[in-house]
């Protein structure tokens, strides 16, 4: 049933993101990320290794929070937030993942600085239920 496949794909992607970005367990993450991983995110070096190296070099307080996750066919799209990325702002990301043979096989993303209340004309958060207050006085580049 397609319901089962969608749920399975969503669970796989959520586990993969948590394992890599939050737990930073690279051995376990190899069970989720395909050895033939195709990267389309403009700032990340090719393949699974490129992604893992990026996470290894990230600050210790790196954190990924997921929000909406939708699955359809072989694709999963996640709306999420990366914080602790070594910048005065958070990143809001929409990650597009193609699943093949139970692995994350291909990835595209769109990344944008998370706007504060002062920066938001709509007054509604880009992600989650509240607008961020950044620890420093920096307002970000958004």
């Amino acid at each position: 049933m397609s319901q089962t496949k969608q749920d399975r794909n969503k669970a796989l992607v959520l586990e993969a993101f948590d394992t890599l970005f939050n737990k930073r367990d690279y051995i376990a993450a190899e069970r989720n990320w395909s050895p033939r991983y195709i990267q389309h995110s403009a700032h990340i070096a090719p393949g699974r290794e490129g992604l893992f190296e990026l996470v290894k070099a990230a600050p210790p307080n790196l954190k990924y929070e997921s929000g909406l996750v939708v699955a359809d066919g072989d694709y999963v799209i996640l709306h999420g937030r990366f914080s602790g990325i070594g910048l005065p702002v958070n990143w809001i990301a929409a990650d597009v993942v193609r699943i093949e043979d139970g692995f994350l096989a291909e990835h595209w993303d769109v990344i944008q600085d998370e706007a504060t209340r002062e920066q938001s004309k709509s007054g509604r958060p880009m992600f989650g239920d509240s607008l961020p207050v950044y620890a420093t006085s920096e307002k970000g580049t958004g």
Binding site: I38, Q39, A42, L68, V70, A115, M126
Partner: protein, 227 residues
């Protein structure tokens, strides 16, 4: 009966879909009130009319591999590109894929209506009166986008790509030209409620051409399929 959720709207290609339920060879023999030939002729004509009007078409079968056989071939021929959904439950509307398909069609009609057709009537037809905007650069409600529509540069362009939909949510990966000096890649997220587009989030980033990317790949690719 529940209260009518919203007042009567005239039928248009944006709020209508054709649902063809179980036109299978094994079920044809059960039709007694007119001839099978006439039935096929009428259904094919209906399907062709819907195609010509660009209506979303959902076609189903029930237990096609085990019991009732395939959709009759004349209809299959009239529906190029339409995936015929084989279902296991008797009530076709129990299948959530059909609900998801109609929401997908609504969100795609909405974004195309705004950014490709630049049709100011799209807001009243397809968007909820209390549309909730989460894009930080656009004020709340539909009035702000309507005003924006008049200010778009002449070379403004939108190209939708992959659409991923589930439940009440439809997400669209695409490319905008003319928001800024460089093309922008976006994922737009819509929530659908009561048959209207009710809420919107997006994430936008300046496109990095493949040649300048850390991995040499394009940020938006045609292999994903498009609408």
């Amino acid at each position: 009966m529940p209260e009518q959720p919203h007042p009567y709207d005239p039928l248009t290609s944006d709020n209508t879909a054709l649902v063809l339920v179980d036109h299978q060879v094994g079920l044809m023999t059960g039709v007694r009130d007119y001839s099978t030939g006439e039935l096929k002729h009428n259904v094919v004509a209906l399907a062709k009319a819907a195609k010509a009007l660009k209506l979303p078409i959902v076609a189903t079968t029930t237990a096609r591999d085990s019991l009732w056989g395939p959709t009759f071939p004349e209809l299959v021929e009239a529906l190029p590109g339409v995936e015929i959904i084989d279902r296991s439950s008797v009530n076709a509307f129990d299948d959530e894929r059909k609900a998801a398909d109609s929401k997908k069609a609504l969100a795609v009609a909405g974004i195309k209506g705004v950014f490709i057709d630049r049709d100011p009537t799209v807001f009243d037809r397809l968007f909820s009166a209390d549309y909730r905007q989460h894009n930080p650069q656009i004020p709340n409600g539909t009035a702000a986008i309507k005003a924006l529509l008049g200010k778009l540069p002449a070379d403004f362009k939108y190209e939708p790509g992959l659409v991923v939909a589930e439940g009440d949510y439809v997400t669209i990966h695409g490319r905008y030209f003319g928001w800024g000096p460089k093309p922008m890649i976006a994922v737009d997220i819509f929530r659908v409620a009561n048959g209207k587009i009710a809420e919107h989030w997006d994430v936008m980033q300046e496109e990095v051409p493949a040649a300048q990317s850390a991995n040499g790949n394009s940020m938006l690719t045609s292999t994903q399929g498009s609408v």
